[in-house]
């Protein structure tokens, strides 16, 4: 479990300059959690505390009971794998192979095992053909996959992804979505930071909303996406099916809300079919 208790953080160390302001939350094992919020709300700063890159100015963060102030980044990273935004900034090896092997070498795996793992990861992420290419020669979407692959390679228990679907095409997005589902099925804990409300609406149940360094919502995705004013305050928009739902309810066309995307499809189809039946009568 990752447990955040009364976390305050400021880059200057001053309490009048807070980026995180009394944040508390628990992330249970095997859970999938999405963190939403405007640019500059403190989302990335929060996840940097999970692998100890940042230490609390006040308050405590525990990873499986270990206080992150008393553990090194490499000790924490064995458990908590973080993939940051702008993956091109993370690369520094000459080849795609070495980029993925880097973490494994640091954790002391032998070269034979490393080769097996890297080949496996490359094929899962559709990157095999770039094995000996420079990471910098890849397209933006391919670099994103490489960044995730480099972290997945050492099999961390907690996987934290900052904007995994930003700038991704449909194929990558689906691939990433499927991989995240596989991680969850295998008992991994997955936390994503994102602006992609459509993606969250279809794939997540629990969501956290941050605003100016505070958590202002922690609960069900379907409940949050019905609170338009709360979303707008954080520069977010309602996902399409919730927007559609509220319009149809306002217009008296729909009585009950949609449970999820599939339910929305079924209900809209039923509405249209009801007219067909009337016409036939």
């Amino acid at each position: 479990m990752i447990s955040v208790e009364g976390l305050y953080f400021s880059y200057t160390g001053r309490m009048d300059d807070l980026v995180l302001d009394n944040v508390s939350l628990e992330i249970r094992e095997g859970e999938a959690l999405a963190i939403l919020g405007d640019n500059g709300a403190g989302k990335t700063t929060l996840i940097k505390h999970f692998n100890g890159l940042l230490k609390p100015t006040k308050g405590v963060v525990y990873v499986d009971g270990v206080d992150t102030r008393r553990a090194s980044v490499s000790e924490l990273s064995a458990k908590v794998g973080v993939v940051f935004q702008y993956p091109e900034k993370m690369f520094f090896n000459k080849t795609v192979y070495d980029e993925i092997a880097f973490g494994l070498r640091n954790f002391g795996y032998n070269e034979k095992t490393i080769e097996r793992i890297v080949d496996n990861v490359l094929s899962i992420f559709w990157l095999s053909k770039y094995k000996y290419e420079s990471p910098f020669s890849l397209s933006g979407g391919e670099q994103r996959r490489l960044a995730i692959a480099s972290v997945i390679a050492w099999n961390p228990k907690y996987i934290i992804l900052d904007e995994p679907t930003a700038g991704q095409d449909a194929i990558q997005r689906e691939l990433i979505t499927n991989l995240i589902n596989i991680f969850i099925e295998r008992g991994k804990t997955v936390v994503i930071v994102t602006h992609d409300v459509e993606y969250v609406a279809e794939n997540f149940k629990r969501v956290i909303l941050m605003d100016r360094g505070r958590i202002i919502y922690d609960g069900e995705v379907s409940d949050l996406f019905r609170r338009r004013s709360l979303l707008e305050r954080c520069n977010l928009l309602q996902p399409t099916i919730y927007k559609l739902e509220s319009r149809l309810i306002e217009d008296g066309i729909l009585k009950d809300g949609f449970r999820d995307f599939r339910d929305a499809l079924r209900k809209i189809e039923d509405l249209i079919k009801s007219v067909k039946i009337d016409e036939e009568d």
Binding site: G167, T240, V275
Partner: protein, 280 residues
């Protein structure tokens, strides 16, 4: 009037084994608003680079064919000249921002071109106002959020008054409401100043509300080039590896009932068509 003309363009980056663009031809009329989408690695950014002249002047490789921007042959014209007409917003604003404060960064391109001080001040003031970021004027760049940096980078492009603006995934890291505001702003620029906009984006749901033409680039080729609504109808059948908007997916499911002639582009459009149908 055609502002961009591309004929039989083929390009391969040096050291790379495959062609990034294969025999691409394209005409763009002045004042168009084009959405360019397609799978990652398909050639979208490469195509943009050939228009602004980064290819072949900065990125070298095998280059065949012709690209004209307002009758200037890009391969024979210095980037400096082309950039009088074409503004390019990079995928990552960090690659575009050079100076330490907002005002100085926006003025950078003007200074480089030798504008006098008063003209520079006036232009910076004007773009700050247009983008509604006057409050950022004196701020340090490193204090800004990602979305704010994106706007500053755009301000730097706008200050030069380009006739064509190419934006490479400007919304990827923006909160959805900021992304929508950016789209509306581009639309305004397009309508009021007749600026030609070429927007590269994976988020078809927002961009489709402002663009009028859809181009899909895949494996180095233009595989679709249609007015936006017709383009969406084709996405339903062929996918092309683009993110199909939720409304288009709903349309796909209920198409056989004949309620919608084309995929609706907005929730408003969807509900009004459905309402009319249900009232019959």
């Amino acid at each position: 009037m055609k502002c961009i003309r591309i004929r039989g363009l083929t390009f391969k980056y040096s050291g790379c084994e495959w062609y990034a663009l294969k025999n691409v031809s394209l005409d763009v009329e002045e004042g168009e608003f084009i959405l360019v989408s397609g799978p990652s690695g398909g050639g979208k950014t490469t195509l943009a680079r050939t228009i602004v002249g980064l290819i072949p002047h900065f990125y070298h490789g095998v280059y065949n064919g012709e690209v004209y921007v307002y009758d200037m042959l890009v391969s024979k014209t210095p980037i400096f000249e082309i950039s009088r007409y074409v503004g390019y917003l990079f995928q990552n604003p960090e690659n575009q921002i050079f100076m330490t404060t907002v005002e100085r960064d926006i003025a950078f391109g003007l200074e480089f071109r030798g504008f006098n001080r008063d003209e520079m001040r006036e232009r910076v003031r004007r773009v700050l106002k247009i983008l509604n970021i006057e409050h950022l004027a004196g701020r340090r760049i490193d204090e800004l959020s990602g979305g704010e940096k994106q706007k500053v980078a755009l301000a730097g492009v706008l200050a030069l008054n380009p006739k064509i603006i190419i934006l490479d995934e400007p919304t990827a890291y923006l909160a959805p409401k900021s992304a929508l505001e950016l789209m509306r702003f581009l639309k305004k620029l397009n309508e009021e100043y007749n600026t030609t906009i070429i927007l590269i984006d994976h988020r078809l749901d927002l961009a489709s509300q402002v663009a009028s033409r859809l181009i899909i680039v895949s494996e180095g080729e233009i595989v679709l080039d249609k007015p936006i609504r017709e383009g969406f109808s084709e996405i339903v059948y062929k996918r092309y590896g683009v993110n199909v908007p939720t409304l288009v997916r709903i349309y796909e499911k209920v198409r056989r009932y004949g309620v919608f002639k084309h995929p609706p582009l907005s929730v408003d459009e969807f509900t009004s068509i459905l309402k009319m149908y249900l009232k019959r």
